[in-house]
């Protein structure tokens, strides 16, 4: 129990680690990793249904793959030019899970190995969900007025592989991020 409690504290660090939008877009108070991961999980859930993939597995891939960032930080695309994190992430994860009950650590590790391999249908869907979440966030910043996000929208959308994710991307470019609440107001 003590080690699980420790792990839960550790994971909470993601609520306080900021994603790279300050460097790339000048967003002064950008979202945290945990905020990104939360929507990533929901997007993964729905994308898995649309693509007829194993929903439970995709959700777990989305939920756990950012956890190594607690120890190494959010290494953004520019930093990745200089620092190679590909091998490191799985090592960090092994350290992080070391003292958890075997049933938990072995499931998370096997799901993560599959995710990092980028081969199975579930891994591709989870990866698309991760990229899509970023694209939704980029469009939200764009619609607030951060003009530089246009570049990241184009660059990252090229990485999408599933049909459903590509169609969602086309659609998100057509919509204004803040239109969803229009028509729902009670004006009485």
């Amino acid at each position: 129990m003590k080690d699980i409690a420790k792990f839960i504290f550790e994971v909470g660090t993601l609520k306080r680690i900021k994603r790279g939008w300050l460097k790339s877009e000048g967003v002064g108070n950008p979202e945290s990793v945990a905020e990104h991961t939360y929507r990533n999980v929901i997007v993964g859930y729905i994308l898995a249904k649309m693509e007829n993939a194993d929903v439970g597995k995709v959700v777990k891939m989305c939920l756990f793959h950012d956890i190594p960032e607690v120890r190494i930080g959010d290494i953004d695309k520019v930093a990745q030019r200089y620092v190679d994190k590909s091998e490191t992430e799985i090592k960090v994860l092994e350290d992080q899970l070391m003292n958890l009950p075997e049933s938990i650590s072995s499931e998370i590790l096997s799901v993560m190995f599959e995710f990092f391999e980028k081969k199975s249908k579930e891994a591709l869907v989870a990866r698309d969900a991760d990229i899509l979440e970023l694209l939704f966030q980029a469009k939200e910043y764009a619609d607030v007025g951060y003009t530089g996000t246009e570049y990241w929208l184009q660059q990252n959308s090229k990485l999408l592989t599933t049909e459903s994710a590509k169609r969602l991307f086309e659609e998100l470019m057509k919509q204004n991020a803040f239109n969803w609440s229009k028509g729902l107001e009670n004006l009485k």
Binding site: K2, F7, L14, R39, Y45, K60, L168, E171
Partner: protein, 193 residues
């Protein structure tokens, strides 16, 4: 399932979800925390805790995780009502209405599951609902402990209240460990200089 209008509605739903990244958890402001966490940050760790707790309590993990993924989503429309507000407004009824509206944006299989799981969660009867509730409170307890060690002493009172609402044995044991710990998980991991 995936006509163009469906895709447009799902897209709308994903934009709506983004609101949870910008909506602060209201209860902390009452205890004097001026820049508290947002709902999405809380929901993230609640799902992770739910996964662990469901494993410890031997119940349906996927269901527990989904309850925790979904049950905060109606707050995009009604906001996060803290316990003082909840004594004036019926937030549960409002959330159910909002969830029913939101589900129309989703493919029917997803929409039905969404509404049903929120209902099951709020009814607190099934094992999964009880475990998910405990996970949700436990997340708040860990956050309270983090605020406490950073000097927000009113969080102590909040922890006391949570102690009373925990139901499962595993959640009670975890809470006891959390209260004993200082929260500094990184001790011993730093590179020596």
């Amino acid at each position: 399932m995936n006509s163009m209008s469906d895709i447009a509605d799902i897209t709308k739903f994903f934009f709506e979800l983004g609101t949870l990244k910008r909506t602060e958890r209201a209860g902390w402001s009452v205890t004097g925390i001026s820049k508290p966490e947002v709902i999405a940050a809380h929901a993230y760790r609640a799902v992770v805790i739910g996964y662990m707790l469901a494993e410890l309590e031997k119940c349906d993990k996927n269901k527990v995780m989904r309850m925790l993924m979904f049950h905060d989503i109606p707050e995009t429309r009604i906001g996060d009502l803290h316990k003082v507000a909840a004594s004036y407004l019926n937030s549960e009824e409002g959330e159910a209405k909002a969830a029913a509206d939101q589900s129309k944006l989703l493919p029917s299989s997803v929409g039905n599951e969404y509404v049903e799981l929120i209902k099951e969660f709020n009814a607190k009867k099934t094992k999964e609902a009880i475990v998910a509730k405990d996970a949700d409170y436990l997340e708040a307890a860990v956050t309270a402990k983090e605020y406490l060690v950073n000097g927000y002493k009113h969080s102590e009172e909040f922890l006391e209240r949570i102690r009373k609402v925990m139901v499962t044995q595993s959640a009670k044991k975890l809470l006891a460990e959390i209260e004993k710990s200082d929260g500094f998980w990184w001790k011993g991991l730093k590179k020596n200089v």
